[in-house]
Symmetry: C2
C-alpha cells in the first residue's frame, strides 16, 4: 500500500529513494470499511492521513443533530482535523469512510521530525497548506456570494472526481443548501 | 511606527532586540487614508502587511458588481491576499482602508529571508497560519449551518472589536446575508 504514497511523494515532492525509506519507517497502513470512523468527536487528531484509495469525509454534528460536511477527501489527498492536529485539543469533528478505503498514517511528531530531516517535504507541506487555505477562501466566497445553482456548478467544476462518488444529500450539506433545493438545482442542471 | 510592531513581535513571538533590528531593516512604514487602496485587482500582493493602526478589508468584486468581503483586519493583524502572495499571480481581490491606517510592510522575499534567520519568527508564522486556517473552517461551518441570526451572533462574539468599527452593509457582505436581513436581525438582537 506504501507504493502509491511513494509514487505521490516522488512525483509531487521530488523525494529520493533514501527520503522514502525515512517516510516508510514511520508510516502505518490502515484499511477502513465504508462507514467506519477514522476519528470521532472528542478524540485528538494526532495523525496525518494520506488516502491511497477510497473516500473520506470530515464533518461536525450541529446542535440540531444534522451533519455539516467540512471536507471530502479521495485518492492522493490528505485528511485530518487540522484544528485538533495543530492544537492537540480534542476534535469537534468526525472523520469516516464513504467507501472502503486504504490509508497511510503518520503520527504528528514523526511527521514533524520528517520535515526537519527532509526540507523538500516541508516545503511541499507549506505549499499544500497554502493551497488548502486558498481553497477555503474560495469556498467562503462561493458560499457568501453565489446562488445554490452557481455553488453546485462551482463544486462540479472544482471537484468532478468527488461529485460522482458522494451521495447528493452530502453535497447539499457541504454546499450549505437543503436537499430539496439541491434536487431542484440538479434537475435543472441535467436539462 | 515600528514601535508597536516591535512590542507585538516581542510579546507574541519572543523576538530579541537583535532579531528586531533585522526585522526593522526590511520594514517599510506606510500610511493609508480612509478609502485608499493597499492592493487593487490585477496587482501582485508581494508584501505582507502588519496593521499598526486602523482597519482594512480584503474583498472581491462579484460578476454582479457587488463587493464580497473576505476578511477584515485591525491593529495587530496581518493583511495580504495570500493567494496572490504565495503564488506570485495577479490578485483577484482589492484591499482598502476603512479608517486612516498605519501599516508596516515587508516584501515577501525579505520576510522569507527573516524566517530563515529567525526560526522563532517562522514558528510564529506557522502557528498564525494554522489559526487562520482554523478560523476559515469555522467560518465555513457557520455559513453553511447557521441562520442569519446565529451568524451575526457568532460574528459579534468572535470579533467584538471589529463589529463596532465597520458599517453594517459590510458585515452583511462578510456574512453573506442581504442588508435588509441583517437590519432585521440587528433590530431583533438589540431588543
Amino acid at each position: 500500500m506504501f507504493e502509491s504514497f511513494a509514487v505521490y511523494l516522488t512525483e509531487k515532492a521530488s523525494l529520493t529513494p533514501e527520503d522514502l525509506k525515512l517516510v516508510e519507517a514511520v508510516t502505518v497502513a490502515k484499511k477502513l470499511r465504508k462507514r467506519q470512523y477514522l476519528l470521532q468527536q472528542g478524540d485528538i487528531s494526532h495523525q496525518n492521513c494520506f488516502i491511497a484509495k477510497g473516500c473520506l469525509r470530515l464533518y461536525r454534528i450541529g446542535e440540531d443533530g444534522n451533519e455539516r460536511i467540512l471536507r471530502f477527501g479521495i485518492e492522493n489527498w490528505w485528511m485530518a482535523d487540522y484544528e485538533s492536529y495543530n492544537s492537540g485539543q480534542p476534535s469537534k469533528c468526525n472523520i469516516d469512510a464513504l467507501e472502503d478505503s486504504e490509508l497511510l498514517l503518520i503520527e504528528k511528531n514523526e511527521l514533524d521530525a520528517l520535515y526537519k530531516a527532509i526540507p523538500k517535504l516541508h516545503n511541499f507541506r507549506v505549499m499544500l497548506e497554502a493551497k488548502s487555505f486558498d481553497a477555503s477562501q474560495n469556498r467562503i466566497l462561493s458560499i457568501i456570494s453565489e446562488t445554490a445553482e452557481q455553488r453546485y456548478e462551482t463544486f462540479i467544476r472544482s471537484y468532478p472526481e468527488i461529485f460522482n462518488r458522494v451521495p447528493l444529500h452530502m453535497i447539499a450539506s457541504y454546499l450549505g443548501v437543503s436537499r430539496e433545493t439541491l434536487s431542484r438545482v440538479r434537475q435543472q442542471y441535467v436539462r
